[in-house]
């Protein structure tokens, strides 16, 4: 079990540099961040999956990772993107269902009764590099890669 009943597990945390800009809360793929606008936000440690999205987007250096080291901002163009090996993909759609950013979808049937459907990265810009699809794929068909590695 990934993140249940382990309250002692260290997760990402938000410190007092937080200005309450709400960007991380909007991006968090598992809806673990909450807080009022212009006030310090808070990460629910029961739900955090340590994907690091909040650390990569925060401009104020307000987020510390599991070891307590402050995270540095990474430009969005250098975030990893999922690459789906269509030979391995069975089109089960489990990745589509876990993707809260709405970046993945199943391909449309090409003709009536087409069942050779595959997962695809249809909204590349929406992907937040949370890696949940890579972790969840039962066929291990998804690998996260740097944009320059993707041909």
């Amino acid at each position: 079990m990934q993140n249940m009943g382990s309250k002692l597990r260290s997760t990402y945390r938000i410190n007092d540099k937080c200005t309450g800009c709400t960007v991380c809360a909007r991006l968090c793929p598992v809806y673990a961040i909450s807080g009022e606008r212009k006030k310090q936000h808070h990460i629910n440690e029961m739900r955090c999956v340590s994907c690091g999205v909040c650390g990569r987007i925060c401009t104020f250096g307000a987020i510390a990772d599991e070891k307590g080291n402050p995270c540095t901002r990474i430009p969005r163009s250098q975030w990893l993107k999922p690459v789906i090996d269509i030979d391995l993909c069975t089109g089960c759609g489990i990745c589509v269902e876990i993707c809260s950013a709405g970046a993945l979808s199943l391909s449309d049937p090409k003709f009536q009764g087409d069942i050779e459907i595959k997962a695809q990265l249809s909204e590349q810009k929406k992907c937040v590099d949370c890696k949940l699809c890579e972790v969840q794929c039962p066929m291990e068909a998804i690998k996260m890669k740097l944009p320059e590695e993707i041909l």
Binding site: M1, T90, I98, D114
Partner: protein, 627 residues
């Protein structure tokens, strides 16, 4: 071994506790409807009212859920049947099952009654009971739109709130229709159950499992039934076939053939209305119909709905059916039961017994009627109680098309007598799937094992019932079992000498099947062609599951449900069909066009290892280990 974890919630107090299923139970009952039935037997008293606070409803998944195995996203609701008083299990393919599992639970056990309309929320193992007053009264679509987007949702509609006896519960556009799950949730003041989490499925032998899945998906995609017919025409593709074999209920089961059936067939639907096919999570079969309705893309009707809102009420208006199907889904009503009750009401008018303002051949009044039924307005409240209650009040039992109280499905059993035996013996009432779905071997499939003869039907029914039970309890969709009919027959066609010879062999296979059922415990092997399910279960859970033990699991499940029914007062006399099917021939004067139930039942009891009163013998109970 990782055994399933359930959350037991007492809605009256709002308290919850974890219930960890013992290893013994997990190995014996696996999950889904089988494990749920065992827990209902253990945890509830006999004779309670299904809509009382003491009643219990179990919402659970099987071990395969969220593993990526084909057609495994289904979840199950088990409770005391509102229509029959026996066992009820209702199965649904929406995203709720997957989300519940990701939230950390294999199932929820609900008892008691919330003191106000409420929503159950499960997030990453935590449970909250939230206020649902704002949602009460809304239809299913709007309820789901108002709930947070990322949750898996299971909701009820107005019909469930008003305790319509066949109210459904739904997730997305998929419905757990039969037996009245919506009414049970409504009686507990639960408008919605929502779940969210990110937990991953644990797999015992990962690499082997992945290989197995890949091969299995290929097998399903290559099969003419699961890879071509179902994706192309959906379940609706069976309609023309059923019509051709005179097994399509028409005019409230008066006859089995309608000259207008092609107007509402799967082929017509695909040609004129279909936008695309779609499907449940992790399903390669993609049988869901997407159609346009009033400028919106919605789920299209299934075979049962087409048959019952079409030929069975003498109508051939496809647009009306699409609309009625949509309204039933909004209100949260089982299309089979509501349409069958409407057909009964129409016949009551025909016979001059009672006028509900509904008449055969006129679907225009039905939209209005559906709203009135869901809101239990005036005399329509009687229709909301189902066919059995109506026939007890107004008479007309001989044409009240139900068994045990649950309305029959859209297969006319007089031209598919094995299906008739299935309807009569099915534990949840007149259900085709619970009943063994012998129509597939008799009237709607490529094979046609003498549909008029009772020969070997008892044995075939027992075998098929066991198989379908086992597939269900592992959490698979029953359609995955259709791929076991060898491809060869589809290639040769139904009239080829080899196909015909197989039909004749199967007709005389009774003795062989009895022998097979006795020697199941020796079948310690797994084969891709026979039961990929068993191997998948073994690879995911680590339980030593083989072809033989898998079918025995189904047998155990069926007997367990029978024991539940016996405990609740159902008996051999309830293994019955309406007189229209057993006494009135479908074709006047041809006495072999009735269901010879009296000939088949004793043989069926014998094959099952039950005594002449339909009670499982001591020996049978001991062999299955369900005492």
């Amino acid at each position: 071994m990782n055994t399933p974890i359930y959350l037991k919630i007492d809605l009256s107090t709002g308290k919850s506790e974890k219930y960890i299923v013992s290893e013994e139970y997990f190995q014996k009952y696996l999950g889904g409807k089988t494990l749920a039935c065992k827990l209902l037997l253990d945890m509830t008293e006999a004779g309670i009212d299904p809509l009382s606070p003491e009643a219990m409803i179990i919402i659970n998944t099987g071990p395969m859920n969220n593993t990526g195995a084909p057609s495994s996203s289904r979840f199950n609701l088990s409770f005391k049947n509102v229509l029959t008083g026996g066992i009820a299990s209702s199965n649904c393919g929406g995203q709720f099952g997957v989300m519940l599992k990701r939230a950390g639970y294999d199932g929820l056990i609900l008892t008691g009654k919330a003191n106000k309309p409420s929503v159950i929320e499960i997030v990453d193992g935590e449970f909250f009971l939230k206020d649902g007053k704002d949602l009460w009264g809304l239809d299913m679509e709007e309820t789901q739109q108002r709930l947070p987007k990322h949750y898996g949702k299971l909701v009820i509609g107005p019909a469930g709130e008003n305790l319509v006896k066949y109210a459904s519960a739904g997730s997305g556009e998929r419905m757990a229709g039969r037996c009245g799950a919506g009414a049970v949730l409504g009686s507990k003041n639960i408008k919605a159950v929502i779940a969210y989490g990110t937990r991953r499925a644990e797999i015992f032998e990962k690499e082997k499992f992945q290989r197995h899945i890949r091969r299995w998906v290929k097998l399903l995609r290559d099969h003419p039934m699961t890879g071509e017919s179902l994706p192309k025409y959906g379940t609706a593709g069976l309609l023309n076939k059923a019509n051709a074999t005179f097994s399509l209920p028409t005019h409230n089961f008066k006859v089995g053939h309608s000259s207008k059936a092609n107007y509402v067939s799967g082929e017509t639907l695909a040609k004129t209305r279909l936008i695309r096919n779609s499907g449940c999570i992790s399903c390669p079969i993609r049988c869901e119909r997407r159609v346009k309705h009033k400028g919106k893309e919605i789920k299209g009707p299934e075979f049962e709905t087409l048959g019952f809102f079409g030929p069975n009420i003498d109508s051939a208006d496809l647009d009306a059916i699409i609309n009625l199907n949509y309204i039933c889904d909004l209100l949260g009503m089982d299309t089979i039961s509501v349409a069958a009750s409407i057909a009964f009401a129409m016949e009551l008018k025909d016979k001059g017994i009672m006028d509900f303002g509904l008449s055969f051949g006129d679907p225009s009044t039905l939209e209005d009627a559906l709203y009135k039924i869901a809101n239990r307005e005036g005399i329509y409240s009687d229709i909301a109680d189902g066919t059995k209650a109506m026939s007890e009040k107004y008479g007309g039992e001989e044409f009240a098309m139900h068994s045990k109280g649950l309305e029959l499905a859209s297969y006319e059993p007089r031209r598919s007598v094995g299906m008739g035996l299935g309807y009569a013996t099915s534990n949840r009432g007149g259900c085709h799937l619970n009943g063994g779905y012998l129509a597939l071997l008799e009237s709607v499939g490529v094979l046609s094992v003498d549909p008029q003869s009772p020969k070997s039907k008892a044995e075939l029914t027992v075998l098929m019932q066991n198989v379908l039970e086992a597939v269900s309890s592992a959490g698979f969709c029953l359609f995955t079992a259709q791929a076991h009919i060898p491809k060869l027959f589809f290639k040769l066609g139904p009239y080829h000498p080899i196909t015909r010879m197989t039909n004749r062999i199967l007709k005389h296979s009774g003795g062989l099947i009895r022998l097979l059922l006795k020697s199941l415990s020796l079948m310690k092997f797994n084969s891709m062609l026979l039961f990929p399910h068993a191997e998948a279960v073994r690879l995911v859970t680590g339980i030593p599951m083989y072809t033989g033990s898998f079918i025995i699991l189904g047998e155990r499940s069926f007997n367990l449900e029978r024991l539940y029914n016996l405990r609740e007062g159902l008996a051999a006399k309830d293994d019955s069909l309406p007189d229209r099917l057993t006494k009135t021939p479908q074709i006047e004067g041809e006495m072999d066009t009735v269901v010879p139930l009296d000939t088949m039942l004793p043989q069926y009891y014998k094959v099952r290892g039950w005594d002449e009163n339909g009670v499982p013998r001591e020996k049978t109970i001991k062999r299955l280990g369900i005492e």
